[in-house]
Symmetry: C3
Subunit: 467 residues, 3 copies
């Protein structure tokens, strides 16, 4: 089957809408990419080393792809995810290519089609028959200088790329890139202190001692830990960070006396914290994050509502990030009340809310963003970064939040090659949505053009304080 990218892909079917959407999209198709939230490794760009092989490039690290292959009975070990026994890249690729049809209608298919065609010049849909040939084509591309991360960074017109980093990360790669006069892009760290929100977890005390060592501040007390985190936030800011990122199981926030917080911290250090106390600790850490952001101006990203590692046997065999982090029903309005009462109208505080439960777009997030100056409706994320869900997001949030209290697209990816495809999907769907407002007499065409531009430039830059 021939693989051709329809130039009008993802645009509305109606001819009037499509004509306008095509023009709106054409005006932003080449706009630089602002990627304020993602999981690319800064060291990859700093080192500019070649990729390994097609499987490592496109399959193994992409949980969208792994997940669906696993759902069709492929063992994760056969997809290169066993820590002990490596898998043959060519065989992984074959396994994938034979199952290409299973991806019909999914976003992973869209991104891969775009990458295959635009980056490698592939002209056929993968299949059992052409698997080896495609593997060789991609391998040849990997061997070429144009495949190096920095060349791609430029080719993809990436303007800003934010990474995600532990408070104790050394950030050497970020420093190196900043200092490198030959690298014009901006690669920014993002402060992600999730380990310090989970006092019941095994790694908590390790996290504390690492932080103590690095900062020289004793994290045995809660006050010490907070001070140490503040120190690290300052360091992140020096290296260009403009934001933090927090993933928690729910959006609970809690105002708390320092004395209670110290008591809970101590209990955690001694491994004696109860589940209820741990939940209170976590909720207070969400509040503390907001408090710090209100002081240092780092934009607080919050994405609650994911149950991590649903299937323990898979976790035990293959580790985390193996496709069974799953969405939960999520609300924001009640849980965030303490935090927003204290910081919601603070001029320096800013918060971007993400969800994987889309019922909260219209019910919680847009109404919050439509009142609180500090709150922005985060782009559809993870399970929702798909053409259908991005459209539903606009239809859900625009009523209460308009366009200018939304965050701009975030790709949230570790699949470096998929970045342009992902941003393009978002630009196409936004163009289609704007076109439908124009055709329905809700928006002048001229204004739609301004908004299409703002959505890819002014808005993400301003929301994430990138200028």
């Amino acid at each position: 089957m021939r693989l051709e990218l329809d130039p009008d892909r993802l645009l509305p079917a109606d001819p009037d809408e499509r004509r306008i959407a095509r023009e709106l999209h054409a005006a932003v198709v080449d706009a630089p990419i602002v990627s304020p939230h993602g999981h690319v490794d800064a060291a990859m760009i700093a080192e500019d080393a070649p990729f390994e092989d097609p499987a490592d490039l496109l399959i193994v690290p992409d949980h969208y792809v792994l997940r669906l292959l696993h759902a069709h009975g492929v063992d994760l070990a056969d997809l290169g995810r066993s820590p002990s026994s490596p898998a043959d890249p060519r065989q992984i690729w074959r396994t994938f290519a034979e199952r290409w049809h299973l991806f019909a209608g999914t976003p992973a298919r869209l991104w891969l089609e775009d990458t295959l065609a635009s980056v490698f010049g592939v002209r056929e849909h993968p299949s059992a028959a052409n698997a080896d040939e495609l593997f060789d084509t991609i391998s040849a591309w990997i061997a070429s200088p144009e495949s190096r991360p920095r060349a791609l960074f430029e080719r993809f017109r990436i303007d800003v790329l934010a990474t995600t980093d532990d408070p104790t990360a050394d950030l050497d790669a970020h420093a190196e890139l900043r200092a490198d006069p030959t690298f014009a892009g901006r690669v920014l760290p993002t402060f992600r202190a999730d380990r310090y929100f989970a006092p019941e977890a095994q790694g908590f005390t390790t996290a504390l001692s690492e932080l103590s060592s690095l900062t020289g501040i004793d994290c045995g007390s809660a006050a010490g830990m907070l001070r140490a985190l503040e120190t690290r936030r300052a360091h992140f800011r020096q290296l260009g960070a403009t934001a933090t990122d927090t993933g928690v199981v729910d959006a609970a926030s809690l105002r708390m006396d320092l004395s209670e917080f110290e008591r809970l911290h101590r209990a955690a250090v001694y491994g004696e914290i109860t589940p209820t106390e741990a939940a209170r600790y976590r909720a207070h850490m969400v509040w503390q994050s907001a408090r710090m952001s209100s002081e240092d101006g780092l934009v607080m990203q919050l994405h609650p509502g994911v149950l991590r590692n649903h299937h323990r046997p898979t976790l035990d065999r293959f580790g985390p990030d193996t496709g069974h982090d799953l969405p939960l029903p999520t609300e924001f309005t009640r849980p965030l009340r303490d935090l927003l009462e204290d910081f919601g109208t603070n001029g320096r505080f800013r918060m971007v809310l993400f969800t994987v439960d889309e019922t909260s777009f219209a019910r919680d997030i847009a109404p919050l963003a439509g009142f609180y100056p500090s709150v922005y409706a985060g782009a559809p994320w993870w399970f929702l970064d798909t053409p259908a869900a991005i459209r539903r997001y606009r239809e859900a949030v625009t009523d209460a939040a308009g366009f200018f209290k939304t965050s701009g697209f975030i790709d949230d990816t570790r699949a470096f090659l998929s970045i342009p495809a992902r941003h393009d999907v978002s630009r196409r769907i936004d163009a289609g949505y704007l076109a439908s407002l124009v055709v329905r007499g809700q928006l002048p065409e001229e204004e739609a053009h301004h908004i299409a531009q703002d959505l890819v430039s002014t808005i993400p830059r301003s929301v994430f304080r990138l200028d």
Copy 2:
């Protein structure tokens, strides 16, 4: 930017659907307005006094507008909402006009465009450049006799307008309008006894003593309070009321022995009611409301699921109704079970259910309305009275409830000038939805015409017992 109202605005993009929708809409565009649920002040119409100024007319009382301006950092004091320091109307208007682009895609923008163009004859989108000119244009209009509330009432073809009134309200304006032979419209009170559902609130005992004074019935006992409420309901009915309205945080209903109710009432009077008891009290008051409606035939409107005054500092500075009443996840099926077991098939009882959590349209409300003779699916309300949400409402409720167990549109507004624009939005979206059923072969075109008419006349009149 020129402001022109597209005559086909909000109709579907598809040419076939649009043609049919245009005809359906044309047949109801001039139909009288039945507004069975809103917040216009009857005294405004009775007194027929001129409006004050453009800001007071269009900005200050409209929480849809305030909310989004506040979300973009405008202090509510600068929008005329400070109880202590008034703001300059012209400056408020400028603040708004400069930020006109922030409303792109929102329903407030649609209503305002319609009002600006249809009522004032404005031909330009507001902007910093033309703010003063528009302010003067609207001010001149306000000075003209055609701007008086009664002239507008007639011009807008308002047939019925229901207000919302406390049980202790004097209803003098309603009585005056009824007695006035020069006023042909119907302005009806609606019985809203929310203060008696909140035994934990500070104002509860005041509410009781006001009710006692007015009725001469001792409300120190629950039985007395119920009798006094019944007395006032009878009075409301004499002045034309056909409905009650109840806003509660959830839809809980509870059957209860009078002895327990008396005990809780006593605890409330003494300020000793616990939160759990207060919730039981409230749930029983919902049940009692239904019981009373089953006796006197007032249509019971219930709209649970709003958390009032989310941001205490804003409440403290600016009072209630300042844009931070926010939606909560809401269910109806389990909470209403006691009430519906007792009154659900009662021939005299009728109940209209509203929600701001649209997940309950298809899951709770339509299935309830699709079985219980007494239950009607209330129109999309508040955060959901938007083109996109009205369409989703029809797509969610029609399957289980059809058209004839829905309530007809309600505007729920205190922004008098927006009433025709709001009803027109609903008529356009309904026309588009019906047209899509016709084009998809689900409904004969002839029948769609009947339904379009019914939706604006027979249905609201019948549901709200207005004939």
Copy 3:
């Protein structure tokens, strides 16, 4: 009003989408019907007796129709549902025909239009005026040999029809049909052991004693009951069963020691089980069902989230299945964790998840089906088996689960005559969805044709292990 079936009914409005959808639908319009989940009585087919009358054929047993008539004030006694006083079929039919307009826009109307036109050749919409004439037309058809169940089975091209059966059902009709060389179809039993999931219910001990008698295994112990259920599952499998079916109020699953299970079982037998214990018992039975399926390979269907018999007075007067089983908010991810940890990657285990809370499609079901090899996203069911909801289902689940982890359509009906109409609705909506992917450049047209075929044949056959 003339009744004509639009050949393009339910296809998209856009001409390009419609053209492609028409071709996709044309290719499957005559495909045999695979119905792996429904409530037709096998004895009806085995006996091949004529239907009784038009009311009994189309109105009385169809809760979609009853429900909406009741919602408009028709007493269920007047619809033939009183156990004590029968109603006149002609009068029931008149009651229905007069209220035909109330069904506008509902799925029941679609199915009935299709049946009236395609099966009886009716050419007018029902009305008060033609009610008697239509009654006579349908009565004449009933009297003809072509109306016999077996003739219809063939005419409808039903290939597989699964029924729903209690573990103690004799399955004689199934055995008879299997043994009958003149009957070419497959009528398969489905094992539905709901009575054994409700230890708090009155009928529980009766259910146990019936099962003991039938199997000769003492069900006084939990171990005995499990063994007896396994015995009956084996018997069902011998008669062709490939699946079980379970309806529970929520999706809770629970791993449990046999000793605790025995203790709860004993408490239930003595009528002393508490509500909390009963919930634990039920959750463990869900787990046990999965355990058994992982051993015998019967596909486990789970459809939680329905509150049965919401209105007790109606239950008391008319019995169950009278239109007031209502949807509840439903989640799957957390509740199914125990079950999926133990059986989710078991190669023999397979589970199809149904919901009537559509928020769980994108949030719970598709992500689960998109990771666990054993989990399939069940077709939209009950309140959601409508054109609008089937479309929303595809838009919600395809992103995470694609097409090949969905179950294929299930009609879930006891209205035998509506089976072809229901399947046709699903085929039309799927054709339209596929067409929209093609027109938007997300799917090659050739591949859409393969998928349209798979959705009605390979997929349901494979998911339900019918080959």
